[in-house]
């Protein structure tokens, strides 16, 4: 299998860099005028980035553990997405470091000592910071092993890398399941430390993987059009990505509703506070829009088989779901940080554009660092002949 290398016009790279820098500049400017709003954008952007990277690693690990061969032909795409992790991790640690004093639980918990002893212990600033570093280091290290093994196979043509990645993938899945639950509780749920939801980890995972799948669709399609994945990424692969996308869209809705319904039913004040804020007043329509973008539209559009095999339909749905992913995080983060009035303006738009461009730069750099197709993978032939 011969594959063309990825050629990126210098102009595009420059434009992406300029847009990223402009986004960063606007965010820095906002930090002087409205620090909370700037920080909420920073947290959202870096969490978006880091969960995309995690989703890429998760996709590789899941397919490795299942012994799946269908996705091998375009595996360099999730691998390049996992390459977002180091930078996304640093950005997230910056966000955590900047906000550490406000995060800290003891501001809220004074006078309540005893009742919330575990919360006080768990959300203590130093422990909180050390944990954040620990999660990021763990994710970067494991994803590095997955990527390096795969790239090494391109050179030494042995099946040892496949076997090694099988083991690493099992370790990653176990580590990921625990660490993403804890990390998302730390970084987002603890924004309102009195509120809790026991389904939070699953909810985070569902959105994370839905967003990752949505991002993989345009990446694969563009790389096929530009040459590197031409002949490797086929209609059958697009079809299967479509099946996963509709499946995880339903999974996200299922988990979202499970969280909502149990809290609605039991109607306990310390649990309902989170949803009352988000379903009453101006946030109500935003929550409905999130459900529309994350589930209603993808579900009904992707049901017919021809739609899942159509490049243009899949591209549009991918954009819809990515907007939904942003909105989902916006609803989680902004009401807790900036208050009851939804804000959407220049800082938000420039952060979205900046993060997208940064993602593109990091993705291109990571993708170009290796062959476009893992041509020595023992399952590549299977993947190239694959029928959905």
């Amino acid at each position: 299998m011969k594959s063309a290398p990825l050629v990126v016009p210098a102009l595009l790279t420059r434009r992406l860099s300029v847009a990223t820098l402009m986004g960063a500049a606007v965010l820095a400017g906002t930090a002087f005028v409205a620090p909370d709003r700037a920080w909420a954008n920073l947290l959202l952007g870096s969490y978006f980035l880091i969960t995309m990277g995690l989703g890429g690693a998760l996709f590789i690990a899941l397919t490795n553990v299942c012994g799946a061969s269908w996705s091998v032909a375009f595996r360099r795409v999730p691998e390049a997405m996992a390459g977002l992790l180091p930078f996304g991790g640093v950005l997230l640690l910056v966000a955590v470091a900047v906000h550490l004093p406000q995060y800290a639980w003891h501001h809220h918990g004074q006078g309540d000592s005893g009742t919330f002893w575990f919360k006080e212990l768990w959300l203590e600033s130093k422990f909180f910071a050390v944990r954040a570093i620990g999660y990021v280091v763990l994710w970067v290290a494991l994803s590095r092993i997955l990527i390096n093994n795969s790239r090494r196979q391109d050179l030494d043509n042995s099946t040892a890398a496949t076997a090694a990645n099988g083991v690493t993938s099992v370790v990653f899945l176990a580590a990921f399941a625990i660490s993403i639950s804890l990390a998302s509780v730390d970084w987002i749920m603890a924004l309102e430390p009195m509120w809790f939801s026991t389904i939070w980890g699953v909810y985070q995972f569902s959105g994370l993987f839905l967003g990752t799948l949505a991002a993989m669709v345009p990446a694969c399609v563009i790389l096929r059009r530009r040459g590197p994945l031409a002949g490797a990424f086929r209609e059958e692969h697009l079809h299967d990505l479509g099946k996963l996308l509709i499946g995880f869209s339903c999974f996200w809705m299922y988990i979202w509703f499970s969280q909502y319904m149990l809290i609605w039913y039991s109607n306990i004040p310390e649990e309902t506070s989170w949803f009352i804020r988000r379903t009453h007043g101006p946030w109500g329509p935003i929550v409905l829009a999130s459900i529309l973008l994350n589930w209603v539209v993808p579900f009904f559009v992707l049901l017919p088989r021809p739609c899942k095999r159509s490049e243009s339909v899949m591209l549009k749905i991918a954009v819809v779901v990515l907007l939904g992913r942003w909105l989902d995080l916006y609803i989680m983060i902004f009401p807790s940080v900036t208050g009851n009035t939804p804000m959407f303006g220049l800082p938000e738009v420039s952060t979205i554009v900046g993060v997208c461009c940064l993602m593109a730069i990091l993705f291109i750099r990571s993708f170009a660092a290796a062959g476009s197709v893992p041509h020595n993978d023992p399952f590549l032939a299977d993947s190239l002949r694959y029928h959905a």
Binding site: F257, Y260, M261, W264, R305, H387
Partner: protein, 178 residues
């Protein structure tokens, strides 16, 4: 009226796929193909229309969801209103899980029974197998000998190029499905 069919058996799914393509190119009518497991790409090679079963599934699923939502509304808010935890009588969130289950149930049963109806399957139906090997390790292609121009030896020769294991002609009374 009777009908003659040619039953050809193959050892390999690849041979069957190639034979199907070649036989269709010759303008011969394929009645059906029987394989021990689902062969990917066979439906495409045979030029079959996409299954309409997905639409049956969708319609049944929607009917299940909408029907159950209406029923729950009627039960909880119209016929016998019950105060549960001070919630409004007609509370959508509490109706969703059952509506979801009803959608899954009807979609599943609807698809299965629609399949039974369309393929005329019922308990106690006598199986009529063109070649017993198709339930074991053989890939069976059934070609219709519709018109007088059907040249048996030419067709057999064509199938030889795809390593056909065995061919035989069957005469079937009209009205007995294979």
């Amino acid at each position: 009226m009777s009908q003659r069919i040619l039953v050809a058996t193959f050892d390999d799914e690849g041979d069957l796929l190639n034979a199907v393509t070649a036989v269709r190119r010759q303008g011969l009518r394929i009645e059906d193909a029987f394989t021990p497991y689902a062969v990917h790409g066979l439906d495409h090679a045979m030029g079959l229309r996409p299954s309409r079963l997905t639409w049956v599934c969708f319609v049944f699923g929607m009917a299940g969801a909408v029907g159950m939502l209406w029923f729950e509304h009627w039960v909880a808010a119209v016929s016998w209103p019950v105060n549960v935890g001070g919630k409004p009588w007609n509370s959508l969130p509490s109706d969703v899980p059952v509506a979801f289950e009803a959608a899954v149930l009807l979609a599943g049963f609807g698809s299965v029974f629609a399949l039974f109806a369309v393929s005329r399957l019922y308990p106690g139906k006598q199986a009529s197998v063109s070649h017993p090997g198709s339930t074991d390790d053989r890939f069976v292609l059934v070609i219709e000998e519709t018109d007088a121009t059907f040249d048996l030896s030419a067709v057999e020769q064509l199938l030889q190029t795809f390593h056909v294991v065995d061919t035989r002609e069957l005469i079937r009374e009209e009205g007995h499905g294979s």
